[in-house]
Symmetry: C2
Subunit: 409 residues, 2 copies
């Protein structure tokens, strides 16, 4: 190991380089976006009525979204069109709608609106900061369970589900943010069939990365809606997805899958909020994705070609610099957008601080925990998707160096 003095000298050398690199958020690169530029003109004046006969410019069409869009993304999620709602951009907004209606009106079979009593939601840690922010803003209390290589720690979940204040669980089932872990089939069956204190216990599964594989070695767990149905708990789950990391991050589509009864219920409430989503934007997606060589899978393979070298270089540099040092562990996800790095010593916030001083912006330490508080001060979320490969490589050298320096200090 290098001495602290050596590391501090190296720090000065890095500092003089005046770097400005960003590994902060899970954003696609411009090269990823370029793949979907055909979407900009995929609907013309020749396409003003969809194949199913919906006039795209006028109001009618329904709050569930275009039939063609529900079919396309239903196929992607392994459900039927009547188990789908396709909205505007942002699946987070659809999660928010569901969680809001649960508070104000309750779920379909709720004895009472959730606002009428304490409402706790289980979240996994490390997890996704926007889930935590949303739940807190709405007034939910969060209870944490550990994310494991098999998904949420089910022993803990099953115990918490027996608390009548606990109304549900909110997590990322595939290529989890930030660990990259995917629920095992066993976890899914336990979630689908477990005993719960309340009849309206709900799984909010943010399946943001279900088709975001980095190679042909894919995590494809059992269909969660089907597992719930086969366990006699068809109405237990809502599953969310979006094209934000397939087409355009800002101009994608959010969608959700649930039992037909749940879809009827929530569509009825959403129908009080608006006439329906932007049908022209939905049809742009339908026409573009259906025309793409290989369809959605073909587009995601093209993204993987851009993304995999970046994930490979993250692992290569961490292995080269930190392998065998005992200073840190990190994940090697098969898909998704993140690598999760855990320092052995409680120095995550110091690593992020040092990296910032050297011109490498990282996600704030603690962001993967509710209220930004990582009890071990060990977890750092790495987002290699946005910068060019050479910058990822340079940024990771800095990160690995900062782990060494922070640990030595």
């Amino acid at each position: 190991m290098d001495t602290l003095a050596t590391l501090q000298k190296q720090y000065d050398t890095y500092k003089k380089m005046g770097l400005a690199l960003n590994m902060q958020r899970g954003q696609p690169s411009d090269a990823d976006f370029d793949l979907s530029d055909g979407m900009l003109n995929s609907v013309t004046t020749a396409d003003l009525v969809s194949e199913s006969g919906v006039a795209l410019r006028n109001y009618p069409g329904g709050v569930r979204g275009l039939p063609e869009a529900r079919q396309l993304f239903g196929d992607m999620m392994g459900v039927s069109a009547d188990e789908m709602i396709v909205g505007n951009n942002s699946s987070l907004k659809l999660m928010s709608e569901t969680l809001m209606w649960a508070l104000l009106r309750g779920m379909k079979d709720s004895p009472a609106p959730w606002k009428d009593a304490p409402a706790k939601i289980i979240v996994t840690v490390p997890g996704y900061d926007r889930h935590f922010t949303l739940l807190d803003a709405l007034g939910y209390e969060m209870v944490t369970v550990q994310m494991t290589a098999d998904g949420p720690d089910m022993d803990a979940v099953e115990k918490l589900a027996l608390d009548p204040d606990v109304k549900g669980i909110f997590f990322v089932p595939v290529y989890s943010n930030p660990t990259g872990d995917t629920v095992s089939d066993k976890t899914i069956w336990r979630l689908a069939s477990m005993e719960t204190a309340v009849p309206d216990f709900t799984i909010f599964a943010d399946n943001a990365y279900s088709v975001h594989h980095l190679s042909d070695d894919k995590d494809v767990p059992v269909n969660m809606l089907r597992a719930c149905q086969e366990s006699g708990n068809a109405d237990r789950i809502f599953i969310y997805g979006s094209t934000s990391k397939m087409t355009y991050a800002s101009a994608g589509l959010g969608f959700m899958a649930a039992s037909p009864d749940n879809i009827d219920y929530i569509a009825g409430l959403m129908g009080a909020q608006y006439i329906g989503p932007n049908k022209v934007e939905q049809y742009r997606h339908v026409r573009f994705l259906n025309a793409y060589p290989g369809g959605i899978a073909g587009l995601m393979a093209a993204h993987a070609t851009l993304l995999k070298p970046k994930f490979d270089v993250v692992d290569a540099i961490l292995s080269r610099e930190l392998g065998g040092t005992g200073l840190a562990t990190w994940t090697k996800p098969k898909g998704g957008y993140f690598v999760s790095l855990d320092t052995t010593k409680p120095v995550a916030s110091r690593v992020v601080e040092l990296a910032g001083e050297l011109g490498v912006a990282l996600t704030p330490a603690g962001a993967t925990y509710p209220f930004g508080k990582d009890p071990n001060n060990s977890n750092i979320r790495l987002s290699p998707s946005r910068p060019p490969l050479a910058e990822v490589e340079q940024a990771m050298e800095i990160v690995a160096f900062c782990v060494k320096l922070a640990s030595a200090e």
Copy 2:
């Protein structure tokens, strides 16, 4: 007057014509939509970064919407860009968000979330059915006041505002749905300055038709946000608008105006729900509307050219068939999308039924009242915007006839 026997004979003649006409909803015509087809390709790969420097395809940009869009629609609403939020399609959704957050968290200066106590909202009747449906779905209680030629009946409003359960008023200030009435300046000043029992009394002004004039004889009342500010109640009002009846009904933009403090507050909460609206769609609007000859006013004048003859024929036929009979009165709006017809006898539902039998679909009688219950059974909302002129003429002959027959029965 015709005898009942004559009218019944005429009924049989109309019946045999097998008409299929629709005056049910306030939808633009295809000719209106055609005016905005240039929007489909107003953003190309040459425009991937907005003039203000926002990368349109990636996430960042903010929950308030593109600066260019806030400027454009702020100008239209007579407010500044920092008094604006521009969202996705549907201003109703923005109203829903505001009303939901008020329940769950309260308004900026609320002593408590509105869900914690009875929450009543004043609505005007006749009024807009979607407002009633939304308020009811969210759990608000509605109290009605009469819509007058000067706007909401302010004597009634001022009295209700002294009830601590009354949290606000929800209405259409300009070319009201369905009466076409516009608030007078006096009404605006009374709303802006009136005494209220609660400090967080809120005016929800659905200004859907502010630029939807039928001719150069325009209703342009005093700026409602400025009136509230000058009355020392800057945070009392939220004003909503959309391009649904300017560009595409299904693919427009919704927006809202309020004091900078209110915008900061609600944007903070909306920022928990999503990263931001579809920026590509916003830039499509900006580029298209700024390039349109005469801008937004030019586009609205082109719509007026299509709409005015339809409104003229509605008035002409009602005057010819019912003028001087004492059987009905109706409005002659200077803008907006509706004509409001009141039968003298309580026969509105029978008129709608008879018209339906003769192949003319009208908005269900009662729809302009909460829960579809018009206490006088007299109000019928006529929507002449969607059908071609000749069909509006034919439909109105049937409507006038049905008023005669229902009144004679």
